[in-house]
Amino acid sequence: MNKQKVKETLLGGFIKNNPTFVLVLGTCPTIAMTTSLFQAFAMGVATTFVLIFSNLFVSLLRNVIPDKVRIPCYIVIISTFVIIVQMVMRKYLPDLYGTMQAFIALIVVNCIILARAESFASCNKPLLSMLDGLSMGLGFTCALSLIGIVREFFAGGAFAGMAIPGFPAMSGVGASAFGFIVFGCMMALFNFVMQKINEKKERAKRAVLPLSTGEVEPMEAVK
């Protein structure tokens, strides 16, 4: 396990492979569970927990599980951890569980978890797989929380449950359709920022290259 790979895995979930904005996986909780920051954060943490442990166990059992029945095996592993989350939440956070019940159960079919089990954990070592789960989960949590902040601000004029003076609540905005719009616009914003950053990098590279090699210039001119 070299350092470069650890770093790549750990940071990958936030920007380069962000599950919400880049891979566009697990969109159902992203839209349904982001009406407030707290709810979005709780959903993200629950998903992260399941992601870390399902990745760990899939990775531990990767040489035991036969290839043909791997999907049902992964699903059993994932649903075990979802049931643990359900039980813990019902005991310690009953009010929150009441509002999130439907989507906590649906973590089982959240595409991020199965996708990471299939594409990462099934061919990597346990510790690295756990790191990948952590990074993906935190990337998901951050994206959800951001959308939650924006939606809570516009719909309720509040931040994390506290009303901001001077901003009235807009009741219509809290409704179903707004989740789609905020998600769409934030993804567009993410794309826009990434595009600008890439352009800047490209320009920096171009500024350096002709000086160092001297033979890039004609190619650029042809372009």
């Binding site: 566009v24 996986l25 697990g26 969109t27 159902c28 839209i31 349904a32 999907i71 049902p72 699903i75 059993v76 649903s79 075990t80 979802v82 049931i83 359900q86 039980m87 019940q101 439907a102 159960a105 649906l106 089982v108 079919v109 959240n110 595409c111 199965l114 409704a175 179903s176 359709a177 707004f178 989740g179 789609f180 719009i181 998600f183 769409g184 616009c185 993804m187 567009a188 914003l189 794309n191 826009f192 595009q195």
Partner: protein, 195 residues
């Protein structure tokens, strides 16, 4: 249960549309709506699997999980029922109906991770504890609602793909905004049943 099955089914198709007002099954809704033909295929595959799997989930819940008092395992039981059913359907279709298989076959594996299937089974069987007939009716209506929504979106996407929009909005973002406007339109139906 005072509401008739007709109104429950109607609400499942229109006013409580699975995608646009319950936010389930959004992944295939966004992912498989690029072409009208694939949207129709996915929609029918969802109706098919939803109707069969919710019946089996109802049977499993009421005749296995409840008598054994292990109903807290419903998540695991349902997803296993759905996954194995999808695999079984794939094999049966391949063997007995190659035409139907070639139309729906590609979409079947994707359906295991469609939250609409598990979500409908959960809400009909566990949260609302409908009887057998209701469960069947609601799941078919939910499937029809999904077909309805994904076909409408595919139709709009044919236009938005050709439109001149900012580069950062191309692809998923503009589709999400389109879906938002569709959800607003569907929200207009929600008063029908309440009154």
């Amino acid at each position: 249960m005072t509401v008739s099955i007709i109104s429950v089914m109607f609400s499942a198709v229109i006013s409580n549309n699975i995608v646009l007002s319950q936010y389930q099954g959004i992944c295939p809704f966004l992912g498989v709506s690029k072409k009208m033909s694939s949207a129709v295929g996915m929609g029918f595959a969802v109706i098919f699997v939803l109707a069969i799997s919710s019946v089996f989930c109802w049977l499993a819940y009421n005749y296995i999980l409840l008598p054994l008092e292990i109903e807290y395992l419903y998540t695991m039981a349902f997803i296993l029922v759905i996954a194995s059913l999808v695999q079984l359907l794939e094999m049966i279709l391949k063997r007995f109906s190659p035409t139907l298989y070639s139309a729906l076959g590609v979409y079947l594996p994707l359906i295991t991770t469609n939250c609409a299937i598990l979500g409908t089974a959960n809400s009909a069987v566990v949260f609302n504890s409908y009887n057998f007939l209701y469960t069947f009716g609601v799941s078919i209506a939910t499937g029809i609602g999904f077909l309805f929504a994904i076909c409408l979106l595919a139709g709009v996407r044919l236009k938005t793909d050709k439109a001149d929009i900012p580069a950062c909005f191309k692809g998923f973002p503009i589709t999400l905004v389109t879906a938002a406007i569709m959800a607003m339109a569907f929200a207009g139906f929600s008063g029908i049943l309440a009154g």
